[in-house]
């Protein structure tokens, strides 16, 4: 596959999209872990939700 004289523009575009999408995925995954960790800590400290269920329960 030849990308012609403007290969650097094409490759840079695809690389940039890949990097930004990977950053988005990583940011959301790390944020999820952080929130779950905080909920586990609150659960361990004995705080319960107004419904009486534990902090980490999602059902």
């Amino acid at each position: 596959m030849s990308l012609g004289p403007y290969a650097s523009f094409i490759v840079t575009s695809y690389l940039l999209v890949t990097i930004v999408v990977l950053i988005l995925i990583a940011w959301i995954a790390i944020d999820y872990r952080r929130q779950k960790q905080r909920l586990r800590e609150l659960d361990a400290s004995g705080v319960v939700r107004r419904s009486g269920r534990s902090a980490t329960e999602i059902r």
Binding site: P5, Y6, F9, I28, K36, L39
Partner: protein, 246 residues
């Protein structure tokens, strides 16, 4: 499960836990197919291989507007119906929309340099998309700046609805003004002007990026619900501690 059940954040969390792995897998498969089709698509007779930038630029540009549209519906949900998940949906979508808009601007620049001879031109389409990007950043800053979530939600909802005026301006800017940017070639009266060899990879990539948005949005909404639960529990913890002291 009915739609009204999803108004309950706990039921929403249970639903996302079930569907997110499937959505992520379908998105990855479609992205792989789209990238393969983009790689093997023929060169354009005028643009050469540079046309391959279209397969990532156009989906990002479409999504930059679509995400603001989703946020506008969520803003109505916040202001009119006071739906408990409406502000969660809008707040979770904003950084993803900002990322898609940033990518639309940068890939457009990288496509423009070899085709137009310039990275940037202050014409109606490019400028209105830049304004959209700045509005995304402004909204994100607003949510961060206002401490009280319900006040932040109302202010952000109003700003989102005001900002929605920019969407038709972006869409029709190429028709209303003389711009360097080409007019619509897919969503237009009389059908797409693109050859099937370019149209099919473009549509596959558009669907793949839309599913990517849906996956990331649901995951970010789940995070926002958990963040609000953490905040509520921390408030209960502080209240319990002050009761014990009293």
């Amino acid at each position: 499960m009915t739609l009204i059940d999803l108004a309950n954040p706990t039921r929403f969390l249970a639903l996302t836990a079930r569907i997110l792995p499937w959505l992520a897998a379908i998105t990855a498969i479609l992205l792989a197919i789209g990238l393969y089709q983009s790689a093997v698509a023929p060169d354009d007779y005028q643009q050469g291989a540079t046309v391959k930038i279209m397969f990532i630029h156009v989906p990002n540009a479409w999504l930059s507007m679509f995400v603001w549209g989703v946020m506008s519906l969520a803003a109505l949900g916040t202001l009119v119906w006071r739906h408990p998940l409406a502000d969660v949906a809008a707040k979770a979508a904003a950084p993803i929309g900002a990322a898609f808009t940033f990518l639309a601007l940068v890939t457009g620049s990288l496509w423009g340099r070899p085709m137009w001879g310039t990275y940037w031109e202050w014409d109606a389409r490019l400028t209105s998309v830049l304004i959209l990007f700045l509005m995304y950043l402004g909204l994100i800053a607003l949510w961060r700046a206002v401490e009280d979530p319900s006040r932040a939600a109302r202010a952000a909802a109003i700003l989102t609805l005001v900002g929605a005026i920019n969407l038709p301006i972006i869409k029709f800017s190429v028709d209303w003004w003389n711009t360097l940017h080409q007019p619509a070639s897919v969503m237009r009266m009389g059908g797409p002007a693109l050859d099937r060899a370019f149209l099919i990879p473009l549509l596959v990539m558009a669907v793949a990026f839309s599913l990517l948005f849906l996956t990331l949005h649901l995951a970010a909404m789940r995070n926002e619900i958990l963040r609000r639960r953490v905040r509520a529990l921390q408030l209960i913890q502080v209240a319990q501690a002050s009761q014990r002291r009293a």
